[in-house]
Symmetry: D2
Subunit: 337 residues, 4 copies
């Protein structure tokens, strides 16, 4: 950390700052410019992480040099992490596609979708049993019945299951049925839930919060891995901006950023990320070209009858087209699908 003294800080102000830092077993290094003095702070990162210096008299501002997350950082673990989901590898050379309906509505709907996505090449079945919805009057999901449907159908078609946890009390139940537990955007900073997920073994897919910075996102993952569960993958699903044409603004630069800063895999969800069916295909292609390790795609056999997010769901036919299109892009970046 660097403490920038204000131009009219007194000698006493500076002494107090240095004394406070030294009393915490930190070393200081002064750099005296024409207008102001800058204090470099050296020592235990944990102590520095919790320092609050701006209230001291004469301090203009402080600048943090290092991020607080550690275990998720690439500095800490230079090689890419590969997560094994019952034999399916996420983060390796292969690109993994997760597909299925936004919400589980019925056994028939999920079975029809699973048949289609399996045939087209998806390895993991997605579907929400617990739905976080803006309004209490919207469809809230089938709950455990939905979980049962997902598991049964996934087993029928030899698929894995990813589904969302919206409450930490549900974790043991969902763990029974799912292969990957998804943390939705609204819960990215539900820290109690993250801590609980750190204590289980199953892989976690951590969606980016609606307006989370890359740094906050990595820190949220740090909550999980510090608990002991290092099987965390990220999922970029669009951020909130001023633009209203799309539902969210899909930030593919986050893929490159996460790859630079962390060793954990990253998936892209162009369905929620755009909210518009015609944009799913180009954004799916672009995600792979940007370096994503996988895709999460909404598919519904009859989107016009979907109970949620029909506007962004692909039909099985659309999905088939998409999948047959991705192979060449994957090859162009040295991956397979």
């Amino acid at each position: 950390m660097i403490v920038v003294m204000s131009p009219n800080a007194t000698k006493e102000n500076l002494n107090n700052v240095v004394q406070k830092l030294e009393s915490m077993n930190l070393r200081t290094h002064l750099s005296t410019g024409d207008e102001r003095t800058i204090v470099g702070v050296i020592g235990d990162k944990k102590i520095i992480a919790n320092l609050e210096m701006e209230m001291m008299e004469g301090v203009e501002k402080t600048v943090r040099i290092t991020e607080k997350y550690k275990i998720v950082s690439r500095d800490f673990h230079p090689q890419d992490t590969i997560i094994d989901v019952g034999g399916i590898k996420i983060g390796g050379k292969n690109i993994v596609v997760m597909a299925g309906p936004c919400a589980v509505e019925s056994l028939e709907q999920v079975r029809e979708t699973a048949a289609a996505v399996k045939k087209a090449g998806a390895k993991i079945l997605r579907g929400g049993a617990y739905k976080p919805r803006t309004s209490p009057y919207d469809f809230q999901g089938l709950g455990e019945d939905g979980l049962k449907i997902l598991r049964q159908v996934a087993d029928e078609f030899d698929l894995k299951v990813v589904t969302e946890v919206v409450d930490r009390q549900d974790i043991p139940l969902i763990e029974e049925y799912a292969d990957i537990l998804q943390v939705g955007a609204r819960n990215m900073q539900n820290f109690q839930m993250l801590k609980s997920l750190g204590k289980i073994k199953k892989p976690i897919m951590l969606k980016r919060g609606l307006s989370a910075t890359i740094s906050e996102w990595l820190n949220a993952a740090e909550y999980i891995v510090t608990g002991g569960n290092e099987n965390v993958m990220f999922c970029e699903r669009g951020i909130r901006t001023y633009e209203t044409f799309t539902r969210n603004t899909l930030d593919l630069s986050a893929v490159a950023a996460v790859k630079e800063l962390s060793h954990l895999p990253i998936i892209v969800d162009p369905s929620h990320g755009t909210g518009r069916r015609p944009m799913v295909m180009p954004m799916a292609r672009a995600a792979i070209a940007a370096g994503a390790d996988g895709l999460m795609i909404e598919v519904h056999p009859h989107p016009e009858k979907a109970l949620s997010d029909g506007n962004q769901s692909l039909t099985p036919k659309d999905f088939q087209d998409l999948m047959s299109n991705l192979g060449e892009i994957a090859a162009a970046v040295g991956r397979t699908i």
Copy 2:
């Protein structure tokens, strides 16, 4: 809802749309322009709330005419709601000030703060026992010990207590100690927690999410009130924008917006809203001038030693100055403090 057909929609597309709507017991009203047809949808609001039409062929877009929230809306309840917190009225002519440290650190710290804020005129003591922190390495709060300190000190000084819930499992415990339960920005859309809070009797203060729209915020409150707890107050605490000079961008226009759309009271938190001590005073004044029903202010006896958010905390002396300054502003808008 209005369904806008695309310019090249066929007669059959239009018929399908009308048929689908009528099959759901909704009435339709066609308006045929030079280029496109617009379908007005009339009928049960709950059915319309869940309609998804954009996937149907020939549909260009849909436009919602009415918001989904009801009970929290001013249309539903034209008079201002006044919440009674053990004799303290929130939402009436009087402006209520909540003050205290960001986090409870020790009995001494809280007692020293409480003495000061009580003397200056605050009615409610704030302080976090459970702290949602970006990094797992940051101070996470004292938990139940913190709650005990808050209650004991508040009782000593005849103050009420507001404190944050970060996990719905903690609700029964916090209910024992606190007079108002606060939902933090990161949990504004933790819908399971909101539902649980709808089942208790104590008043809830619902902070605005980091990037929540006014509409999402009102819908979040609707989750609580539909559960049966109508004692909900809002708290504007700054939104996330591109600006980096302040910690958040305090949106005082939200006060006017909430007053227009809802009958529930609204509090403003200029401490988190700006993150800078010198801005707390002008923003506190402005909040009252904009029509806020109260303020939430961070005060710490020794901000330079605070374990969190020292940069935005007022000293007891600052707080005293602030309070003695607010009376005239309150009077100018027909209120007292």
Copy 3:
């Protein structure tokens, strides 16, 4: 400036950085931590302002300590600047109100408005003769005819005139008719125009860009004052955020920020800032409570017939109510209106 070396920077990398800085006559100061070395850069601010170091090998990032603007900063000129507009003082104890229609439409319209706003206490007449409109098919303003109307009517009612420049070629013409030249949000970084405005004598009102940071705004003002025209006032008019209920998000914390960082006056425009008539009054009050030096308000005798922005215009009666309401707020913050 501080240059942060990466943890795996070599000794040679560090030497190269130091050498480059020293070759530019800058002094360096090394601070060696456990993981990385930090280089403090000391010397001529102009040279430092243009430094680009991040491309050098071994450099992780650079941190600027000081802002680039100087003349507009409060450090440079601690006392508040008061601008004299033909006897009307802006920035002093008195709060100045500018009012009038969004666009000049006719002599009758402006005259009717001017009579009303003068009577209510406004000192300056606003009105657009050149309108920057999103679509080429929207009304673009009356041009010079509009300027003539403004001048004639202002003289009739002993008012001053503020009007917008949208092209630097128009400056000499507008200078003839107006007392204050306004730079609109879309031109805040039209640097050639700012340079030209620096060469005239008349006061300039610089609106904040749609998504301009406080720092960019102050730097834009620096373009004008470095040309020689120090009569610059700011105008906060709302920034672009994700919120759609209001037209823009009026950022009143910008008032406090500008007051802290600069000596120049700041005006608030709650009409554009909210885009909603019922919000103009509470936001006008709040602006004054926050410390603004004046207000800019849209008034139209018949808003329902306005050629632009009718939705946010007050009627003369609304404006009268607003003005009679502001006196007490002004008094509460030690000002008069």
Copy 4:
């Protein structure tokens, strides 16, 4: 347009609305729901474009059904437009790469860069002679000398020239030297300049404003094409969001959006869009996968010595790597480079 009456609008309010619309030669269509009446407005689009109805009593809000831009819309011109820049086609099957330094600094610098980018396959040389810079103390460009250098070097290497116009008075001069005139982000809504560019023949590259919506961007292009110059291409260069890790947030979904809404070509600038050298390559790949018609890349022979934006400039070697990498991606989406 649709006019939504408020639930408590009177019959007279409704009559007034209808009368006003009919007096403007517009037809109306009433749709009466349980709570409110909705008025469909049919007729001349130009009249509707300028309608302001929300000030009328009883009107709750209005909803626009159609965008204001026409000539740039794909509805108006379903086939992709291909722009011919002296034999180089932009918008066809071939992907065009524009490369060069951020700012023209010297003949040697441009010549060295041009040699490298030509060799690697770029067709168009970029470079700024007039630089819009946040601070007046930053390097402002070489002006006409810079234009001369660009032209001379481009001719030597058989390249075309794209360069930025920052003031409409410079258009005739720049037209002499450049093959494509670029409108920068800060001037996207400099409407007078857009109008002037509509009167010339040379192609225009219109960068997206810092926080411009897709709709505003298309309307800005409409300003140019209504003047008569239909050779307009868009350039996505990142938008402003809350994220600070990158300089801007490169919005690749804008590529898909523009392709859906307009027939004009779109280029992507990953250099400004990310501001970080390591992200240029993945984002360049992703842009092509998303459907972009070309790329704009900053290349500097010695980025560590660049007078501006060195941090985001590729070295000639980096650029060579990038180019040799793009062919496969282009092929995967049916294009060549």
